[in-house]
Every structure is written in structure tokens, then in C-alpha cells.
């Protein structure tokens, strides 16, 4: 069993000329095939005026993940980083990073995805923004 921080960002498309994004970082203890324990969850909204670039995405992830008190490698889907090679993306992070590999990694990202998506929908409806 080991700790990872699974990250997912929702809302990378334009609505009313802005990008309303929500990043969810989930610290979990996992085995190769299951999530064993959820340690901590952090959610942060980010409003951008222009389309997010790779550096913006990395900043968003770093900002959310630094609030997690538990250690562990940051793990995302390939698409999150515009399918850039792992070594390119990893070199841009200030901490350890890798793409999803095991079933445990994938389940954790799925969890982060549900959290970020639900939070974003809730925020948009609270703010009265049509999605």
C-alpha cells in the first residue's frame, strides 16, 4: 500500500468567454488494484480568461496539491497534460509526477474526476452560469 495524489481538472472549455475550471486533488492509499483509504481531498476553482496552456494546468495542479498534507506522487490522465510525454511534463513539476498506470491509479483518478465535475456543476448553478 502506498500514497498517491490523484488529480483531475473539470471545465476546460469556454463558457461566456471564460474558462471556469475546478481542480480536485485526492490523497489516497492504494494497492495495485484498489483504493484502500482516502486520506484527504482538496478542491480549488480557477477562472481563466484565455484557454489554459500546459504551464497553466501545471500551476493549477501544483496550487491544489500543495494544500494536501500527505506526501505522494501526483498522478493524472494523459489527456490532462495534452498527451505530452511523461518526461517533459515531469520535468516541469516541482514535485514527483507520473501518468496513471495501475488499476488503483485509475480508480483514484476516477474518484477525483467525479469530485471535480460535481463541484463544478454545483458552483456554476450557484453562480447562475449556464453551462
Amino acid at each position: 500500500m502506498y500514497n498517491i495524489i490523484a488529480v483531475d481538472i473539470s471545465g476546460r472549455h469556454k463558457i461566456n468567454d471564460r474558462y471556469y475550471m475546478v481542480c480536485a486533488a485526492v490523497s489516497v492509499s492504494i494497492t495495485a488494484e484498489h483504493i484502500e483509504r482516502v486520506n484527504q481531498i482538496k478542491i480549488k476553482p480557477f477562472w481563466l480568461d484565455s484557454a489554459p496552456e500546459l504551464t497553466d494546468i501545471i500551476q493549477v495542479i501544483e496550487d491544489t496539491a500543495k494544500e494536501i498534507e500527505f506526501g505522494g506522487t501526483i498522478i493524472t490522465e494523459h489527456g490532462e497534460m495534452y498527451n505530452q510525454p511523461e518526461r517533459v511534463v515531469a520535468s516541469m513539476f516541482s514535485r514527483e509526477f507520473k501518468y496513471q498506470e495501475s488499476l488503483g491509479d485509475r480508480s483514484s483518478i476516477e474518484l477525483a474526476h467525479h469530485i471535480s465535475l460535481c463541484t463544478r456543476n454545483l458552483l456554476l448553478s450557484e453562480l447562475g452560469i449556464e453551462s
Binding site: A32, E33, P85, R87, V88, E101, S102, L103
Partner: protein, 424 residues
Amino acid sequence: MKRVILVQRNEPTNDESRNIRKLIELQDLARSANYKVVGDVTQTRRPDRKYQIGRGKVEELALMMEELGADGIIFSNQLSTTQIYNISETCKCEVIDKFQLILEIFAKRATTKRSKLQVELAKLQYELPKAKAIMSLLKKEERPGFMGLGSYEDSYEQDIRSRINRIKKELASVQKDNESLRIKRHEYGFSIVSLAGYTSSGKSTLFNALVDEDVHVEDMLFTTLLPITRALNICGRRVLLTDTVGFIEDLPHWMIDAFRSTLNEIFLADVILLVVDASESPDIMRQKLVTSHDTFWEQIKGVPIITVLNKIDRITENELKERLENVGYLTPNPVAVSAKNGLGFDELKNEIYRQLPKWKRETVSLPMSEYGMSIVSWLFNEGIVHNINYKDRIIVDFEARDEIILKARIIEKKDKHGHNHMFT
């Protein structure tokens, strides 16, 4: 045996080790399809629209063909119809890509009606997007129809589409039969265990060693195209073990779809044995495990996986330890075995037993009569009898699935109330 040259265009962003692995895989594939590899050419660059690799490299390739006396070229990258046409015009030989090669292998190995249908479907799906381009290249000069306003392309494409539909319908009916067979197996108290894993990881050897049979095993890729199922006894539980087709990196979706019914055997199992070649380098093992996890992800939810580290006779204990440290995070429930020497089989069987759907343990009391004895014999067939005591009544301590326990309890209850139903 046809002599061929292998060509691979590497993406500038790819790791060197991945490129080498892909080339070795292509060599194995070519060997499986009975080709003799006489040379290989690689180039690192972005794809060329006309030739896939650089034009100069294609000219070099043409010279190399003459020098080595090769009859064909196999590309590792997927080629468009125009690229195939242009390269074969320059090199004056047959040019195919990896996917066509895989299809060739599948076509050679397909023996039953179902696998033949699957191969034809995959072939047609490969051909469909190329249909228009093929026709316009072949009939460059001709203009069909009134005043040359008609076209060959549409009718050819339509023809392929209708054939695809027909095959899909036929396959669906074959698949239905298989599914009902699977449900029946569950009803008869069999649990289903599937062997999965990368090609050439030793699934068939392990299958043979476990069930003590002689399934065709060769040092080639894709020797198993159709799932083979045999019964096996694991610590008293009756289990059906299925050998399946191996995974391969970057298999296109249309091919996975066409062979879905083969992979279904894996996805509907109660336990999956993920076989991995432990004698390979940790990096290659990691890549192959990621491919396997990738294939599993969408399809299996909650099915336990046992990672079988095969071929441990080829490595030392320290090497095995090192590999487990490196790829441990990708290996659920690892068990080290050697299918060749039978090493570690007991641990593997115990692990399978641990992961099988749980059976409950129960004690029933049956009358000491012919009827009671028939129930005992039925319990021996359906479950595991741990203890049996013949006194005034027969006390049976047994383990079985829920339905059997329920039936046994009903029989016991009816008997106590004086009913004496014959068990059917």
C-alpha cells in the same frame, strides 16, 4: 519463406527502449507469419504524408531490397493507401503494415467458423476507410456511368459495409450461444478462471501444466486465437480454466472490437490470472503490465486479479526480488511460478482458491437411509465435504455455494417434519 525488410519510423518524442521493444515485437510477429527478416531500417522523424518515412530513406530502402534480395517490406507504423502505393511504386515490391501482418497471422491461425468470421470482420474494417482510395487509384483512367458521372467508390464501399453488417449479425448469434453456455457453467457450480497477459508470456504453457494437457505451444506470437477451456480441481473447488489470446501494445480499436468475443472470456471470469514474463527487464515488464491494466480498466470492475510472474527458472532469486520492488505497484496478488518446472504451483492454486467467490460452510443432518445417502453423494458432487459422521443420522459438514446450502437446508427441514421426498 518470404524474405522481408522491417521498417519503423520512430516518433522523436519516444523513448529509445520503447522503439527497440516495438521493433523486436514486429520481428516476432513477422516470424509468426512465416517471414524471414533479412534486415531492418529505422528513422526518427515526424511522419511524411507521401511515404511515412523520408523520401530519401525510401530510395535507400529500394537499394537495400536489391542488395539483400528481399521480397517485401513490413512497416511498424500504420500506412495510408497512398503511402502503400507510393512506397511499392519506388521499391517495386509488396508493402504491408503491422496491422495487416497481424490480420495475416490471425487468418492463418483461424480454424473455427467463429474465428474465421472475426478475422474477416477485422479485415473488412481495416479495408473500409481505404476502399475509396483503392478504387480511385486502380481506376484512375476510367469514368463509369452516364457521361462519366457515376463512381465505383460508393458501390465498393457499400458492398464492404453490407458484408460487415452481415458478419456482425452472424457473430452476435454465435456469441449469444457462448453466453448461455457461460451462465450454465455457473449454474453447475463451476467458477471461471481466465488466463490473460501479453503475447509470449507463457499462458499456454502454464495452462498445459495446470490442467496437464497438450495445447499447442510455440515460441511464436498469437498461438492461441480461440479460448480453450478445461476443468480443474483447486483445493476441492471445480474450476474452469480458460486460455485466451494475448495482448499486444497499440492494438487499434477496430481490431479489439473484432476480437471482443475472445477477450470476453477474460472479462466475465470470476478470477483473472495475469501472466507476466518475469525474465524480461523490469522496464519492459512495467510497460507490458501497464498495457494489461489499460485493457482491463474499462471492462472488469471488481474481478480479483492474480499476477503470475512466470519463467522464474530463468532468473535468480535476487533478480526476482528486484523486479518485484520495481513493478510491485502494478502486480496485484503476485505469485512467482515456473510453468516449465512446475515451481510455485501450490502457492498459485492456494491463491486462486483464496480469490474464488466465497462458499459458506454448513452442517446438516440427514436420515440414515438410501435417500439420505443419495443426498450425501449429491453434496460430494456439488461442494467440498470436510467431515462426515455416520451415527443414527448422517452429519455432514460441507462447504458449497448459497443455492446448494439452501437446498440442503430445505431437504433437512422437510425430513424433520416427516416428509420423505425423493430428491431430484
